[in-house]
Structures are given as structure tokens and as C-alpha cells.
Symmetry: C2
Subunit: 140 residues, 2 copies
């Protein structure tokens, strides 16, 4: 539920205001990835009086805390995924939007090799995998 998000925010010294609780609840009841526009639409539908800006601000906050991660979809849209705050990568179903998390499984070797060949110092990386989840694959 949204309790996790709220607890984590509280521990980070962030004020737990009414709007923030409501937006956290919206996020908790989504599954898979969502865009800022999705949340704004949700909020409008439920006639919560929260403003657009507040939603963007909370998303920034959550991203800072690593509770949510930004994903760039293949079509260029920006989406968010609720997340554990440890390093990992996302597998996104292009049909239904379902998400799976995968921990590093050999990426470090790849970055080390790339660094050796190019002479670059690598500071960060982004890996996103796109495909079809088991459900969508069988539904074809």
C-alpha cells in the first residue's frame, strides 16, 4: 500500500501533508509503470483538488529518495516505476506495462570492459529491457 511510501518519506524528514498522502495512494493503486499525466488524470477523476505542480513535485521527491525511478520508454515518453531504493534494472512489458525488477547480473563486467576499451571513466549507466511478460506472450 501507500504506507510504505509515506513511512519512507517521513523518515527522510519530509512533511506528510494531505495532498502527498493522496498522491501516494494513487501511486500505490497503480501497477506497472505510469506517467505524470496518468496521475494527473487519476487525481482529476477522483476530484482530489491537487494541482499539477504538486504531483510533479512529489514525483521529484520520490525519485530523489529512490522510491520511484524514471524510465524512458522506447517512444520517448517519461514514465515512473515504484521501486526499491537499491540499484537494479527494469524489464518493461511493451504490451501491458507490467514491470519486473532484475538485479545486476553481469553488467559490471560489461562496463569495466567498455571502460578499458574506450579510456572513459564510467560514472553511471542506464539499462532498460523491453519485451513481453508471460501473460501477454501467451495471449499473443
Amino acid at each position: 500500500m501507500s504506507d510504505e511510501l509515506l513511512r519512507a518519506l517521513d523518515q527522510a524528514g519530509v512533511r506528510l501533508t494531505g495532498p502527498r498522502r493522496e498522491i501516494a495512494a494513487l501511486i500505490a493503486r497503480r501497477n506497472g509503470h505510469f506517467t505524470a499525466a496518468d496521475l494527473i488524470a487519476d487525481a482529476n477523476k477522483r476530484r482530489l483538488g491537487v494541482g499539477r505542480a504538486t504531483i510533479f513535485r512529489l514525483l521529484d521527491l520520490l525519485a530523489e529518495q529512490g522510491l520511484v525511478e524514471r524510465v524512458d520508454l522506447p517512444d520517448g515518453r517519461h514514465a515512473y516505476v515504484p521501486c526499491e531504493p537499491s540499484h537494479h534494472h527494469h524489464l518493461v512489458c511493451v504490451a501491458c506495462g507490467a514491470i519486473a525488477e532484475v538485479e545486476d547480473c553481469g553488467i559490471d563486467a560489461v562496463t569495466a570492459e567498455a571502460s578499458r576499451r574506450s579510456g572513459f571513466t564510467i560514472e553511471s549507466h542506464r539499462l532498460e529491457l523491453f519485451g513481453r511478460c508471460p501473460n501477454c506472450r501467451s495471449a499473443n
Copy 2:
């Protein structure tokens, strides 16, 4: 030079128009990554009469042909990188924008493992590495 881009476009059955030649020249004289806005600024500076829309349209075309690839910068901006049309990844210098290309060096093993663990069929992936090129590292 821009001849490569033009030749590739020609072979793909695309009309070689004046504006397209000029934009291709602009791209050829850039090094590293660039944004659509960069090209638009270049075009304005040189008083080429090309419209914004034409630049976006050519970028789409080039991306379709794999002659240019879209990169999502860490700050969320969308940039492009001139490219070979074979699969590979980019190493982007966060200080000066220099680009190095790296071929797959073990990524396939990572995707296979992720697929095995999650049950997803993986159709595509995006890997971007961010760091500092040798120049920027020593200049510090």
C-alpha cells in the same frame, strides 16, 4: 562528411532535397551528441531557410534508417548521435558530450539471464553509459 548520410538516404529511396542536404551537412560538422535545438540554432545562425519541422522530420527519417540514434541524457533531454546502423551502445561524456561506441560485450548474457529469471521475452534493450572521456578526466 555528410556524403555518407546522403548516400544512405538515397539508397533507402528517400528524396535528396536541398534542405535535407543542408541539414545533413550541419549534422556532419557536429561532433558528439546534439539535440534538435542545436541543429535549429545552427540553421538559424547560418541563415539557412529551413523550418523547424523539416529538421524534426529529417531526424525521424535518419533514426528510422539507423543512421542516427536517440539517446536520453541523464537530465531527461533527448539527444541524437550519428551512428553506424549496427547494434551497439554509447558511452557519453557528461562533461564535453564526446561519444564512444561500444559493441556488445556480454550484454546478451545479461538479457538471457534476466529473461530466464523473469519469464519475459526480451525484444529490445537500451544501455547507456555515462562518464568522462580521457580528456575531461585529466582536465578535471
